[in-house]
Amino acid sequence: MDNCMGVIDFSCTDQNFGTLTKKRAAAMLPFGGRYRLIDFFLSNMVDQDISTIGVFTGTKIRSVMDHIGSGKPWDLNRRFNGLFVFPPLYDDEKRTSVGDIFHFHSNESFFVRSSEENIFISDTNMLLKIDMNDAYKCFKESDADVTVIYKRVKDPGGRFINCDKLAISQDGTLENIGTNLGTEEEFNLFAGSLFIKKDVYLKIVRSAIEKGNAGFLKEALMNSVKRYKFNCYEHEGHIESIRNVKNYFDANMNLLDKDIYSELFSQFGIVYTKNQDEPSTFYKENATVTNSIIANGCIIDGNVQNSIIFRGVKIGKNAIVKNSIIMQKTKIEDNAVIVNAILDKMVTVENGVEIIGNHTVPYVVEKEMILSREEII
């Protein structure tokens, strides 16, 4: 994809994920056994030959810097172009407390300096693998100022309530973007990403600052639907909206569907992440594992069903893990029982401890906690 740079915008709210986002942005949530959500966005771009990528983070930058570092896993540690991380700055002359539009404006020089004339912008609310080359072709051939990516979804269950909804005219022009309240069962879901001409982007951001009518970049773009030529590109594949703990849990569990597993992990290029140098996973004598995704470096001697097990997890003899997400280096000792739960990194569940959540409200255990047996006096 010549002539196109990438932007990842952490505008996704962190408020609905409880302690999972205490120290990390929503875009940094662990996903699928060995990834973080951001890996999918970065890899999708890198695999389709975008070589300049700016990541506009929120304020929780430590996990971003730890994970992304110099961009080496994505081959973005380049002398020319590569990865640029833009945390919000303390030292801007003018800042507003709400929204990220000033953040984008104060980094205008990043856009101006780069040689690419088009930008692919993605927020991190939606998880999908886009056929970006095809979408880019559509954008360029239509000569639109902006090409918005969407998916036509049937949503009788209301999974996508409060997501963004597009109204598209007969000729494919975008008419407006609003919020889906569930009035229609079938509608056009905004996929969180779009192509835009760089000069149009620059005009929209400047105009939003001067008029003071948008706090967020997304808001500024949406305000401009009438002023520029916006058209639409339909995404054919799977899509997940990750807005709260329940969505997040379900999106992980959906990977147990082999088609979704293949699509998210293999279609349009592979997914890169930070390498932890884990050996293979060892299944011991008493292991019984079914319908699960298991990362490397685990040692399993218990029973695992319908679960996502991250790298370096240990599961003891006679332990049961069911319908759960167990993150990196968590240790589940012998005879423990875990059902409908999300265990963050480096949790310890001691021998015999039982925790049972409900599938609509998964039981979330914060990083590094130790679940011990109550002493009976």
Binding site: K258, P279, S280, T281, F282, K284, V289, T290
Partner: protein, 378 residues
């Protein structure tokens, strides 16, 4: 005062003919091992973990897969601005080109490179062995003993001793005798092919050795005996732990199987001495409904729908429904189709075991090497 400077020279040109089709397209150091590694990962990771920052890798035989695997050395943190990892291939000069002959000759031919790095010590390693060892400790021993050369040794079973270079040493560790593959071994202390030399001393002996027309230019056969003959201070550094030179298909299979015992000495899960390898960026393994996995080591990208016991699966292996893999080593991208049975076998990369096919028998000492073209029994 800067640290003493060490340069590691890793001999990675071995052909490994006794491994048959396993080494048809690659050098022995590139042979896959332990579910996700290649043999060379062990000495490379040892070097990285020992804090060595300069390493030359001497390649010669079919180096493409090895070069592709090593890349710029970034997996072992050897991708440095200065120093780091260098691949040293044979080259030509005014006189013409010369291939590496013996082990010592490979070092000799790279003398101008070594002089350029200007190390105090040269650590000679072989890319053929599987073990975990802290070379820093061996170097400390070498310095403490004020040795001219130190050879790492390991106790081997007496009946195998005649396959190795065998050492006799006095109480202080000073080597008194050395015999390369003796018919009647006088000790069971075998050379592991790991040497530390003071570069200045080694340099002289290499220059002398090259002048001898009948020399095989080999450390074990020529250089070490010459040094010993001159009464140089040569010490044996005794290594305790797992060390294996997988020479045959059977010993290769056994060394892999060793990893499945709970108390295996190689302990790949030890975070304090990790073994690094090329990262393939594969998704986690997928274990479907109805599959059975016991006593097995499974790597990323595998999709298991069948039955797996006492086996090692490398990356992206597919074991289909009702397929059964027992006591076997399955290399990357192999497919075991529905209902196929595999037992006591090594399945090579990308091989498909067809539906209904049965390989090997449960109660036998035979090991089968399965390639796309043939099956070799050993």
């Amino acid at each position: 005062m800067k640290k003493e400077k060490v340069l590691a020279m890793l001999l990675a040109g071995g052909q490994g003919t006794r491994l048959k089709t396993l080494t048809k397209d690659l050098a022995k150091p590139a042979v896959p091992f332990g579910g996700k590694y290649r043999i060379i990962d062990f000495p490379l990771s040892n070097a990285a973990n020992s804090g060595i920052s300069d390493i030359g890798i001497l390649t010669q035989y079919k180096p493409f897969q090895l070069n592709e695997h090593i890349g710029i050395g970034s997996h072992w943190d050897f991708d440095r601005n200065t120093g780091g990892l260098r691949i040293l291939s044979p080259y030509t000069n005014e006189i013409g080109g010369r291939w590496y002959k013996g082990t010592a000759n490979a070092i000799f031919e790279n003398m101008s490179f070594i002089d350029h790095v200007d190390p105090d010590y040269v650590l000679v390693l072989s890319g053929d062995h599987i073990y975990k060892m802290d070379y820093k400790k061996m170097l400390e021993y070498h310095i403490e003993k004020k040795a001219h050369a130190t050879i790492s040794v390991i106790e081997v079973p007496w009946d195998e001793a005649s396959r190795f270079g065998i050492m006799a040493a006095d109480k202080l560790g000073r080597i008194t005798e050395f015999a390369e593959k003796p018919e009647v071994p006088k000790s069971n202390l075998a050379s592991m092919g790991i040497y530390i030399f003071n570069w200045k001393v080694l340099r002289e002996y290499l220059l002398e050795d090259i002048k001898k027309e009948d020399s095989s230019n080999d450390f074990g056969k020529d250089i070490i005996p010459a040094m010993l003959g001159d009464g140089l201070g040569m010490y044996a550094y005794t290594f305790e732990g797992y060390w294996k030179d997988v020479g045959t298909i059977k010993s290769y299979w056994e060394a892999n199987m060793d990893l499945l015992s709970d108390d295996n000495q190689l302990n790949l899960y030890d975070r304090s001495w990790r073994i690094y390898t090329k990262n393939k960026n594969l998704p986690p393994q997928y274990v479907s409904e109805g599959s059975i996995i016991k006593n097995s080591l499974v790597n990323e990208g595998c999709v298991i729908e069948g039955h797996l016991e006492k086996s090692i699966l490398f990356s992206e292996v597919a074991v289909k429904k009702n397929a059964c893999v027992y006591n076997s080593v399955v290399l990357s991208n192999a497919v075991i189709e529905e209902g196929a049975k595999v037992c006591n076998a090594v399945i090579m990369e990308g091989v498909t075991v067809k539906s209904g096919q049965e390989i090997g028998e449960k109660d036998s000492n035979n090991v089968y090497l399965v390639s796309a073209d043939d099956i070799i029994k050993e």
